[in-house]
Symmetry: C2
Subunit: 373 residues, 2 copies
């Protein structure tokens, strides 16, 4: 299926940066947390090369925040995730799988600890606010749960440090990976984190005043002219190469964190009180029967992966489905189609030969470890 | 802003009917509950005329279901809404505002009572599943909350009864408005309701087996050839004329049901135990300070309403914003632009003259009662 036209409406929310993004002329959008998210600008491939060599500014306001504050805030956020949060310090970010009572993934956000009784949860594509609010209400705990006026702006790429230093000062270079600190901008203070949905390095600015969005945007674009700064967006090729998963595509409520390769973020035994603990302790002891993998798909550039593509084992001509590819694109650097899919235990060993059922025919493929690079 | 290209991915889920919809060649899509929803086929206007004169089949699988079952099911669903559910019988549908503890709208679904301890909630565009699951978990109530394999298919338009009778038998004509009953299709039983997101009459088939989707679709299309059946979709003009609101556009978490003109569905005093009761009793006694209204916008056909358009009062040249338009389109039948917006008390009286700030300039407008027709 060719990518169709998207009907815009207020239900697909604009962001504080939308007018600037629009001027840059994105070739396509997606919808993420009921918000607009550009997909690419020049082309997916050109954006990819630029991201790997220069610096880009991304409107990722769709990474909405959930603020949890109050006396029971720490207890509630620990309840949300099988990751042990006792090690999370103020000023630190943790990638946290969020699961329901059966251990099924509800979201895979980044958790920021602002104070002992205050957190932000920077979410992937599902209304996690409803889950956290529902729990807080049902439990009658002393905690407030809101969506604050925070719209992250990402600065990604190898020159991100140089660009950020020009706008926020040299100190910004000192922020360590997955740490954040307050930085001044025109008399206003934003939390700035070294994080982002790419493997090229960079920052996320937690822009917390809608009215300042365009001013921050313009300052970054002006300061980065000689760094060849461009407007960009999370890049599907780069994130597949880097093994970054997309919630809703590569994993859903049906999957446990262990299936998603996120077992290393689960310390379920020590995450006492977390939802899904019983189910995940069982999964951890037995191991999953399918798991996320890379797959190198042979042949020319694959068409867009709009629906999951069945993966077949090739033993003895059997027609059994052993998994599904959920993200795929041609990688100019790796000279193959890189993809991500959930693969059954019988075929998940890197090097296993399988075939993938694309809309336009079968393709041979090889199971690979993630990340590709 | 012109409507852009939508990048498809598995995160924007296909439905059991997607392949059939695609063959019919929709000109645009939107994203609703992380699913594909066609916007229109021939043109918005042509689809509108056809809907008012013939019969259409709509893929509204994006109206996902939440199933609540167990000993505490009735108690939990009453907790969700300020509507008094003691009057809801088995086989009946209720339109129910769902609010949070502050009385802010979280969704405006249709609730179906399947049995004394079993309900379906047919949702608008937000992950209400997370809210209901969170509450159930926090409360430790004896209830199970899941998203079942149910994908509604709507049959809408004045010839809907004729078409449905050919596929499900003459009995289907007996279903009263907002009632449902089980009907057989090829040995399988679907719940069929007289309901739908139009004012032209019709049904929603709660198709509860993914694998049967295309067979049901084909049967309807074949049976309706001489009725001039077409593939359609919720039509923006028809639903504005009819005063049907779109959650996320015309109302959000910021609005109470009373602001949305849904006060008639709130019997908060008798909905003992419902969330938001304290806040809504206060609102009900004082009345809202803004409310949903129609607005007839003068001049030629308005451009697509992609972001809310400010409404200004015209007294003494003041530049005060008195509301926002959130849905708008040219109505061929009414020969004016019909629109929906939230309007402040000072200007909400039908007949009040205001002006609306469109992207391409100011337009005079008149406040109207809803529905237009």
């Amino acid at each position: 299926m060719t990518n169709p036209i998207l009907t815009l409406s207020p239900r697909i929310r604009a962001t504080p940066f939308s007018r600037r993004v629009e001027i840059a002329g994105p070739k396509a959008y997606t919808v993420y947390n009921h918000m607009r998210l550009a997909s690419f600008f020049e082309s997916v491939e050109a954006d990819y090369h630029h991201l790997k060599n220069h610096v880009q500014v991304w409107d990722v306001a769709c990474e909405r925040q959930i603020e949890v504050r109050g006396r029971d805030a720490t207890r509630l956020v620990q309840m949300l995730t099988p990751r042990d949060l006792r090690k999370l310090s103020i000023g630190q970010c943790f990638y946290v799988p969020i699961v329901d009572e059966t251990g099924g993934m509800l979201n895979d956000p980044v958790l920021l600890k602002l104070a002992d009784d205050r957190y932000w949860i920077s979410i992937a594509d599902s209304d996690l606010l409803y889950w956290v609010k529902g729990l807080a209400y049902g439990l009658h705990w002393e905690v407030d749960v809101i969506e604050p006026d925070v719209s992250p702006l990402a600065v990604q790429g190898p020159k991100a440090d140089d660009l950020m230093a020009r706008v926020f000062g040299e100190e910004v270079r000192q922020i360590r990976f997955f740490r954040f600190a307050p930085f001044e901008f025109d008399g206003h203070v934003f939390n700035v984190a070294r994080s982002g949905y790419s493997k090229q390095g960079g920052f996320e600015i937690y822009m917390d005043d809608w009215a300042l969005g365009e001013r921050l945007w313009d300052r970054l674009m002006e300061a980065g002219q000689d760094l060849n700064v461009r407007v960009g967006a999370p890049n599907v090729i780069e994130r597949i190469e880097g093994g970054l998963l997309s919630y809703g595509s590569d994993m859903t409520r049906r999957n446990t964190p262990h299936e998603c390769g996120l077992g290393r973020f689960c310390d379920t035994f020590n995450a006492i009180g977390c939802i899904g603990r019983d189910a995940l302790l069982r999964v951890a002891s037995e191991g999953p029967v399918r798991q996320i993998r890379g797959l190198a798909i042979e042949g020319d550039a694959v068409p867009p992966c709009g629906v999951p593509w069945p993966i077949h084992g090739d033993e003895d001509g059997e027609d059994e489905i052993v998994g599904r590819v959920t993200s795929a694109f041609w990688s100019p650097d790796l000279k193959t189609n890189v993809s991500i899919g959930m693969v059954r235990m019988t075929h998940w060993k890197p090097g296993t030969r399988v075939w993938v059922e694309l809309p336009d025919g079968a393709r041979d493929a090889t199971v690979r470890a993630l990340p590709f690079i």
